[in-house]
């Protein structure tokens, strides 16, 4: 646990089983919250390497990330959340990480839940784990009515198609095992629309996923991708279409290196 040095991340080992772990945070103009999140990560999981994927920020996100001891991969222009996530996962795959954790840079996902989210991967019971914001009844009230109904609809659809119960299928708080990285770095990963459809693809690819309760915070700054009245409605339609498309395509398969 101790003897950690920022200059030699390759020597770092996580507390659990000597695995190399990387926390990936896609960030678009998160200078206000990123510093605090990195500080929290330093306290709660100092053994994890941290990577900021800068998605074309126009503020001081990069400087804040570097000052907080994170590595920075900077996309030349804004390319969207899915593209940023994929970039981070390609980084994890190429640099030999055993475990990747996706975490929002806006402070929504509490780093104290990282051990819970990574546990199923470390224990070998799942390859992809979603942190679920509806862990207890108190948090179930979070989010607008439309958002909650949307989650419910999508999780029902997913249950019908995969037989798995996932109550928060659009959670961006995830742990991904090396065993599942091939899928994310391949063309199968729907960069333009990573959502419930990804879980269906994982199911079809034979990658085991599960969800665990995690601590979420309400956003303090910035804008949610899913706010408003019209957007949630369009969102359901788009998500449904994306799921249909997955069913129309052949099952994702592990290929030799692209």
């Amino acid at each position: 646990m101790n003897g950690r040095s920022e200059q030699n991340p390759a020597a770092l080992r996580t507390a659990s089983g000597g695995l190399r772990a990387l926390i990936i945070m896609p960030a678009l103009n998160e200078e206000k919250t990123l510093g605090a999140v990195l500080d929290r990560l330093q306290e709660t999981c100092p053994d994890f390497d941290r990577l900021i994927v800068n998605d074309g920020s126009t503020d001081r996100t990069i400087e804040v990330a570097r000052a907080g001891g994170a590595r920075v991969v900077s996309l030349p222009f804004n390319s969207g959340y899915g593209c940023a996530v994929k970039t981070g996962l390609i980084y994890a795959e190429r640099n030999g990480y055993d475990l990747a954790v996706l975490l929002d840079a806006d402070g929504q996902h509490d780093p104290s839940s990282i051990p819970d989210v990574t546990r199923p991967v470390l224990e070998g019971t799942a390859d992809v784990v979603l942190g679920n914001r509806y862990g207890d009844a108190a948090r179930r009230a979070q989010g607008s009515w439309l958002q909650r109904t949307g989650h419910k609809y999508l999780s029902t659809l997913l249950r019908l198609l995969t037989g798995k119960r996932v109550s928060d299928p659009m959670s961006g708080f995830q742990a991904i095992s090396r065993r599942a990285l091939w899928f994310y770095v391949s063309n199968n990963f729907p960069e333009d629309y990573p959502d419930t459809n990804v879980l269906l693809m994982l199911h079809r690819a034979g990658i085991r996923f599960t969800e665990v309760p995690a601590v979420f915070h309400a956003r303090t700054t910035g804008q949610s991708m899913h706010g408003g009245l019209l957007r949630p409605l369009l969102y359901w339609i788009r998500a449904t279409l994306a799921i249909l498309m997955v069913l129309l395509r052949p099952k994702p398969r592990k290929e030799s290196k692209p």
Partner: protein
Amino acid sequence: MNPPLPEAANPPSVAAGHLTTHQQVVVVVLSVLLLLFIVHMVRRRAIREEYSVLWLAAGILVVLAAVFYSVTLALTHLFGAVAPTTAVFLLSILFLVVLNIQITVVLSRQTTQIHRLSQELALLNERLERTERKEP
């Protein structure tokens, strides 16, 4: 107090079986101008050859439709349309739809390619910076 509507003058060529020479010249001149413009753009490499094919084909087809008007009339009959204008509009819209689909396909491909490139650029940059700092 409604003034009587003037009798609609029967347009001479709408349902008629031929085009006037005047009409043919107008159509042919416009199409040839379009063709020349497309060729000019390809020559200047402003349009890639692969994307000029649909445009050139459309220009040539319009010339043929004006010169061999009987073909246009046959097509009108085939579509079950009354006036040749309907057939011509239908085909024009069809052409625009096909062209738009082609553009959407190209746009999607390029978006994917640009994203792949930007990812590789970002990853290489990070690796280069690390190498320069002599980090692992």
